[in-house]
């Protein structure tokens, strides 16, 4: 009953990779993620791919199918021609981990930088009263399943890595809009924050985020543009601005609004092993903590410890020198020349 279809799947990691061809069986009513699973079960057991719910609710299986950012579980095979080649690649905006899996840490970093809901000080739990019409706008944005397709498709970071520092992306603009429109949120400067720290001004409203959103959230029309307009209220309204000049409010606010901090970690890695065989791209393991005694202290006395001398501060499972393969640094040897 199934037919053989031609798939091209990107396989590789940060050292490089390419599109590999597969002939795979496809049955009626299947989606692309089903086919990826069949590949795993039959031809490529170690093909890396994220997925969870397989129902378009968790937003894990984001990938690019024939060049378009999609959820694998929401792309029906019946949308392709019988003899059409289906090309599946990982998201192209984020660093690659392996095969179809990318490191989406960028989004979590931005999430942490976005100020959280500020509960009103005078209300106890259970005393919140909100009207449905007032929560509806924010509810639309809370439909977000965090598939990060909008973050991936946005050309501001997709085509310009250097903007990642200053630009939070559509997902966090709708978060800012959600909180700014929240009837009980007690924080008043979300618009200023969006403009100054999240890089709202980078958006040029080309609406790709709205186009790819699997939840059909009107990201641009209902969140980004209203936020831009709210910023206009505050920042570009000449009358308000003049008033601020006179009362010197602007200087107070500028203090709190400097460009966003750097990503938590942006190690400068090279893609390929250098001439000296050092793998620059290797991820460094966290610093090791040494074993402690039951009081939480390092055992310093030989009498109470199972070996002579102090334990290694790097833990027992590390022996020196480390094999060169494990290193991702190289002595500069600047004295050599």
């Amino acid at each position: 009953m199934g037919t053989k279809r031609h798939f091209r799947v990107w396989r590789g990691d940060e050292n490089g990779g390419d599109l590999q061809d597969y002939q795979v069986e496809v049955n009626e009513g299947e989606v692309v993620l089903d086919v990826i699973h069949r590949l795993q079960a039959t031809q490529a057991p170690d093909l890396a791919c994220r997925w969870n719910c397989k129902a378009g609710k968790c937003g894990s299986c984001s990938m690019e199918i024939n060049g378009r950012p999609r959820l694998g579980c929401m792309t029906r095979m019946s949308t392709f021609e019988e003899n059409e080649t289906v090309t599946v690649t990982p998201l192209r905006t984020f660093p690659i981990v392996r095969d179809l899996v990318t490191d989406v840490e960028f989004n979590y970093v931005k999430a942490r930088e976005t100020p959280a809901f500020a509960p009103p000080a005078d209300l106890e739990p259970g005393e919140y009263r909100m009207q449905q019409v007032d929560v509806e706008r924010s509810q639309e944005f809370r439909k977000c399943i965090e598939c990060f397709l909008c973050q991936n498709v946005c050309h501001v970071v997709r085509d310009h890595e250097e903007n990642k520092r200053a630009f939070s992306g559509p997902r966090y603009f709708i978060r800012a809009a959600e909180l700014d429109m929240h009837p009980l949120d007690a924080k008043g400067d979300r618009k200023e924050y969006a403009q100054a720290q999240q890089g709202l001004g980078y958006c040029n409203i080309t609406k790709c985020c709205t186009e790819v959103c699997p939840e059909h959230i009107k990201i641009t029309d209902n969140a980004i543009i209203p936020m831009k307009e709210r910023v206009v209220d505050r920042r570009y309204d000449p009358i308000v601005k003049l008033g601020r000049r006179i009362f010197r409010r602007d200087q107070l606010e500028e203090q709190g609004t400097r460009p966003g901090p750097l990503l938590a970690q942006e190690p400068s890695h090279h893609a390929e092993p250098g001439a000296d065989g050092v793998k620059w791209n290797r991820q460094v393991a966290q610093g090791q903590a040494a074993a402690v005694d039951e009081n939480g202290r390092l055992p310093l006395s030989e009498f109470t410890f199972d070996r002579a001398a102090a334990p290694s501060p790097f833990g027992d499972d590390v022996t020196f020198p480390l094999p060169p393969d494990d290193l991702n640094y190289h002595h500069s040897n600047k004295w050599d020349t």
Binding site: D46, K57, S78, M130
Partner: protein, 636 residues
Amino acid sequence: MTTNRIERHHYDVVVIGAGGAGLRAAIEARLAGKRTAIISKSLFGKAHTVMAEGGAAAAMGNVNSNDNWMVHFRDTMRGGKFLNNFRMAELHAKEAPERIWELETYGALFDRTKDGKISQRNFGGHEYPRLAHVGDRTGLELIRTLQQKIVSLQQEDKRQYGDYDARIRVFAETTITELILDGDRVAGAFGYRREDGEFLLFEAPAIVLATGGVGRSYKVTSNSWEYTGDGHALALRAGANLINMEFLQFHPTGMVWPPSVKGILVTESVRGDGGVLKNSEGKRFMFNYVPDVFRKQYAETEEEADRWYTDPDHNRRPPELLPRDEVARAINAEVKAGRGSPAGGVYLDVSTRMPAETIIKRLPSMHHQFKELADVDITKEAMEVGPTCHYVMGGVEVDPDTGATIGQVRGLFAAGEVSGGMHGSNRLGGNSLSDLLVFGKRAGEYAAAYADSLPARPKVSQALVDTAVDAALAPLSRDGENPYTLQQDLQAVMGDLVGIIRRRGELQDALVRLAELKERVAKVSASGGRRYNPGWHLALDLRNMLVVSECTAKAALEREESRGGHTREDFPAMDPNWRRLNLVTSLEGDEVLLSRKPVPEMRPELITLFDRVELSKYLTDEELAGFDALAEEASN
């Protein structure tokens, strides 16, 4: 490029699982001042909790002021067929409203009533409208809210200590394969990070299990790949007990067509809002399947049932709103009688009962899901649905108040689906979201208190860590069977032989096959390296799935009656004597041991909340005599 180096971390409380229960526990532990780690098997915020659609049950009485915790308690016990741990059901009913209100202070936006309170909706098995909801994506709202609360705590820490991770840190895409013990105390957890395959060791005196369920052992399931019973298996191997493992909930209405989305749930609110079940002859068959215990509360004619939607005070409920196991069994019977749909299900129809706009308004994500996934427009045609493995009532046996596991180990806590007892033999819809909030909080709170109470931190022995490393690496170096084949075989055994309707012969057969599978799983191999290798991850999960499946099969064979999520064709009736017994499984070496344990008896003031007529259907004569004595005492 990976090595056998182990990344070590020290925490006060480690929470395994980043679903609702895990996040709630972590928030509580962090609020108690403990350094807390959250281990998430997939990305942060992708937990299976997002799949819960209907809502969170809490007797706030916003829609019907007659509702209170006692009614909720009664509904929960009735739904669980009186096998519930009464203390858990009591705590749950009492504390659920507070937990829901708390979410609003974290930023949750529930649907509202006219006077601005949280709106509540009807749901199968609940006497009053009780489920706080957001459209049909309540689980997503809950997980997002908790996730954002954790972020806000991290922001606090950042302000105070200059580091987001100072007191609460999320380890995404990290799987725990083994708990490390120091004698009978928990000392740490060992696992790997998916991204690079590196090993991690968390040294912590208190560990909270919140790993969810076991559905991946079944062929047709709504559960994601994560649901491999990790927490159940970790607890077993650490010396804790599992109870009630024979009770699995099959959601009555999962999609059966088209095949790729087999198992995806159609929320019960489709029925709560007016959807009806029909067989291939177009007949509304649920009227034929109302069991005697429920006869009084359910309508007998279609007319009465239809009136209920607009006037619930003067009409009885439509039988489509019977507890889920009754509905699942009815559908199964219809299909077996040859009145099913071509794909082996029945039809669930809302299209003929409401205008299209109403359907889209009330069931937006349902409509969206069907349209996108299956190209079916639920406003125009009926859905094809059938029973799907959905939830496991059984789980780690815990102390009701603290969430501490019962058995041979200290310092281990469990909350959410991985814990057992709260739901008895069957869970009411909407009770799981409130369950994980109530007991997540308690587990976090008491895990923090336990960590404080210890005079000294337990020690992690290197030998145990080495064993764990070897076990984790073994599949990579072996030359054995493909893990995917083994998983399919396991799913076939469980789905065919330990499924919704069970028989003695089949269960015995299942145990034999599981024993065979055990030998094959011991030789499973995974090709490729350690870096994000799903084959290797599955190979490691298989061991957990297998031991938990064995517990289920053994307990199912032992319990010779039908009750809630356990239906024996050879013992179709409920037996009051069995109601007094919980089946407890534990692990000794490799061997699953099964024992019987009496169900705790309800306190007098709780049991007298029930009608004698109702109790008479569940209790033994001896127990009823006790009840009568109590009633008499009260009237004197």
